[in-house]
Symmetry: C2
Subunit: 119 residues, 2 copies
């Protein structure tokens, strides 16, 4: 039941596209990630996903539009909607999503991360 300081947790890792678990509640997980560059197009069949920007900004690409998400903004991507995060510069994000969510959704490839670290 300790509190979590985001800055302290972000200082513990540097790799991109590798979410770390920092909290769990009601079957959901809170994850932190650093993004830089282009991710892969994917969707989550059963899970909505929340992206909150702690530092920096990134583009969430959808098939028909792009949403720029800045610091202190969040975006919820509903299940079944194809999306691709693209970060021109490094961005620090906090994710809320079910514990079952795989980072690459319906795509399994070199960017897929399983057995995430807990910080």
């Amino acid at each position: 039941m300790g509190k979590v300081n985001l800055e302290q947790k972000f200082s513990l890792f540097s790799e991109h596209w590798s979410p770390k678990i920092v909290g769990e509640l009601n079957g959901q997980q809170v994850k932190l990630a650093k993004l830089k560059g282009e991710f892969v197009w994917h969707q989550h069949e059963h899970e909505d996903e929340l992206f909150f920007v702690v530092k920096g900004s990134f583009n969430m690409e959808f098939r028909d539009r792009t949403v720029v998400v800045n610091e202190n903004e969040f975006l919820i991507v509903p299940k079944g909607v194809e999306h691709r995060p693209v970060a021109l510069e490094e961005v620090h994000i906090m994710l809320f999503e079910p514990a079952s969510t795989l980072n690459t959704g319906d795509q399994v490839n070199a960017m897929t991360k399983k057995d995430l670290d807990r910080l």
Copy 2:
């Protein structure tokens, strides 16, 4: 599927202890609230609750200790644990909890808020 800017949403209300719904995902809700003063002791029988401080700081009192939660920190209060938020100065928080969660938990009194506004 629009993004949510926390500062813009906080500018839309001023009352304390009156959470506003700003997002929904996977049966959970994202709420924003401004706190000032002492809340009531309560617990949530079935729901864990996450408090993230966007601006300011507050004390989360438990029966055996107090945790000071500062900006860019979060605290998860597990179900069944009595707690009382106390904010010496106004604090802006983001909550993440099941849609079923009542602000005063197992206590129903003048501070209980039902049918929350959506911003």
